[in-house]
Amino acid sequence: MTDVIQHDVVVLGGGGAGLRAAIAIAQLDPRLSVGIVSKVYPMRSHTVAAEGGAGAVIKANDSLDAHASDTIRGSDWLADQDAVEVFVREAPGQLIQLEHWGCPWSRDADGHVAVRPFGGMKIERTWFAADKTGFHLLHTLFQTSLKYEQIRRYDEWFATRLLIEDGRCQGLTAIELRTGQLRCIAAKAFILCTGGAGRIFPFTTNGAIKTGDGMALAFRAGVPLKDLEFVQYHPTGLPGTGILITEAARGEGGILVNRHGRRYLQDYNLGTPLDVTDPHHPQKNTMELGPRDRLSQAFIREREKGNTIEGRYGDVVHLDVRHLGEKKIDKKIPFVRELCKNYAGIDPVHELIPVRPVVHYMMGGIHTDVHGATCVPGLFAAGECACVSINGSNRLGSNSLAEILVFGARAGAAAAQLATSGPAPNLSSLLAQLADEQQRIARDFINKQGGTRRIADIRLEMNHTMENGAGIFRDESSLKQTCRTLTDLRDAFRDVRLDDRSLCFNTELTSAIELGCMLDVAQALACSALARTESRGSHQRTDFPNRDDKQFLKHSLAYRTEQGPPRIEYLDVVITRWPPGERVYGK
């Protein structure tokens, strides 16, 4: 009989949220055994690429209410305000905890942690470790996790299915990439921390691994995906590669200009620019420090007006940081200079940086409560793959790194509690499901006869239809076309063929499974966007240009159906102390 690996809690994903959850469990109850299953080694997780910083109230001029207010206004009132209050209250403690674990936060001269402004903030509150904050945060968590012997890692194990028995999540199957064997891991609680799904779009800051696996696994297990239509475009990515140029470049004073050298954001209700030599530049909550959705939308309008600059990989505008000078650039945003020099052949000390909006972050994800719990007992989620929701229709810059810590730790605590009291997994049923999953993978991929379509071709078609139909601006006809194309692509996916039929490190097989996940997430996204006939935050419908609180002060919930597109339901947003109002920037 095949062995079932058993733990008390299993975390899927070894990025910031997953590691934080695992450490929380290890600290709360050292008797619990924790497994971390990840398709990559933890230090490869995409948390590593976050640059600018993490938001939390630490300075005397700031307040929890101010952080909550900026977050809610940024979300265009789609965030749940009870969740936001929990988040802003717990974020400072989490960042201090990271400080105690050795995170090299940048400091003020007196030794206190330094902060800087990010877009959409009325008060600066972004902690940073130069401009490699995610990198330092991830490595600090990873290195700290090494001291807990009860945390067992399954690096390069690729999860393929959640095993639901008696209505509870009791196990998962995963391919051990080194051997190609499908394994079964049982636990009393599971936490999904698999990150976003930016790779469903053609042009993204996200690494190759961001394929929405956890979202798709939960969706197939019966958990709805919430607010998936809200996709954050970061306004400043390098053309071609999509490499992120952090918002910190603007937080430190960088400006955006069009082909005429005009700071065009002043034409989009984002305030009046101050000269870069003015001591009050950059102004918080204004111009280049407006929110990400507004800045990305302004780019499209500039392109329509012919004000952008033609580049090799499409139109761009220019990010200018030259006036900051070499010393400040090297101290505050050294990674920006490194990336520009190594990947674009540009030295931002002397040259303009070509940038364009690029898919960056999924506000939506697996529907959870403030403890990370989903509607399936035993199944939790945290981080970008989850939707609590604190981000609503547009995430405030620098909230995501704080979010993975706050809700990673909370999900860890809730899972630990369940694991101490919950029922034991039913191993014989899990083995039956394992056998079923083995047959599915063999039938659909490894031993498949016939099949004509290459993975890359289907993926490219998916990328293009998402960009064309579900990009920064959308309308009914573009979304309907995208939904139709996605249906066709799901059929095409059944006809996929693999060159590689071997077991050891079959990365073509994992690419195929990832593509299946992305198609599920893409379809849920497009269908949710089609159903939301209003414009809010990052979801801009040209045929419904206004926010409609009467109908849509609600979260979308996309449920998987046996056949056909997902079923969309709605759930009221929780409003506590911040009634919906107008989003005002530049004043």
Binding site: V40, Y41, M43, R44, S45, H46, V48, A49, I58, G93, I96, Q97, E99, H100, W101, G102, P104, S106, R107, D108, A109, D110, G111, H112, V113, K132, F135, H136, H139, Q143, T144, L146, K147, R178, G207, A208, G240, T241, I243, L244, R312, F335, E338, L339, N342, Y343, G345, R454, I455, A456, L498, D499, D500, S502, L503, C504, F505, N506, T507, E508
Partner: protein
């Protein structure tokens, strides 16, 4: 496809299928802004789905895509075809590691070494974050910051002649990481790390070839770290052997 092409000669090995490694040649379209990783992705997507390698961020920070490019350890996301064109480019797995398959190496040993230096903040007594942040001046931060920049890409292990000969040598990245915590004003674990660092498997095994620092894509300067640790280890020996009663 553009007119210009470049030849990639790629190391192939599939356990259970290939008796021994072979080099397979691929003709790849040449673009002056493509990196070696772009060429590998083109091969995998367009002509040969069986080629196996690791990659993710393609911006030099996840540390996955290190390989030998014409015999030199490189991050393939930052190695431009134009550096080699029109000559053929040879791509191999990182040297000094066992090969799992094709360009994928086994890093179990590396991770054990990383863990062996106790790369976490060690405090005397119980540490509680509820008392607020530790103060650390920019000057104190600057003492260790450089050594905290390692992305675990392992290029330095592939470049180090001692790693190739002495399998137990902790190696450049792990030694630099140990120094990173030893120099951190918040850490009190120096004594716990010193025994390993001063042992035959630690800094003293280094022959100071300096290749680790040459190939490091993040300017961590592991060679400099190892030299600092040698000095500390010698001081340790001095105190322990010659003045064992002396106050530390």
């Amino acid at each position: 496809m553009p007119d210009q092409q470049v030849t990639l000669s790629v190391f192939r090995y599939r356990p259970g299928q290939d008796a021994e490694p072979v080099f397979q040649e691929y003709q790849v379209p040449y673009h002056d802004d493509w990196v070696v990783l772009d060429a590998l992705n083109w091969i995998k997507e367009s002509v040969d789905g069986t080629l196996a390698y690791r990659w993710s961020c393609r911006m030099g920070v996840c540390g996955s895509c290190g390989m030998m490019v014409n015999g030199v350890p490189r991050l393939t996301c930052a190695a431009f075809l134009r550096e080699y064109y029109p000559a053929p480019i040879r791509v191999e797995p990182l040297a000094n590691f066992p090969v799992e398959r094709d360009l994928i190496i086994d890093l179990d040993g590396f991770l054990e070494k990383l863990k062996s230096v106790k790369p976490w903040v060690i405090r005397d007594g119980v540490d509680s974050a509820t008392n607020g942040e530790y103060l650390q001046t920019p000057g104190q931060l600057a003492r260790f910051k450089q050594y905290s920049m390692c992305i675990n890409c392992m290029l330095c292990y592939a470049a180090c002649p001692v790693v190739g000969l002495e399998t137990n040598f902790i190696g450049p990245a792990a030694l630099a990481l140990a120094l990173r915590y030893n120099l951190d004003s918040r850490d009190q674990g120096n004594a716990q790390r010193q025994q390993l660092l001063g042992s035959d498997e630690g800094a003293m095994a280094c022959t100071f070839v300096g290749e680790c620092t040459t190939v490091c894509p993040k300017n961590v300067d592991p060679a400099g770290a190892v030299q600092q640790e040698k000095v500390l280890a010698v001081n340790d020996w001095y105190y322990n052997v010659l003045v064992p009663w002396g106050k530390r």
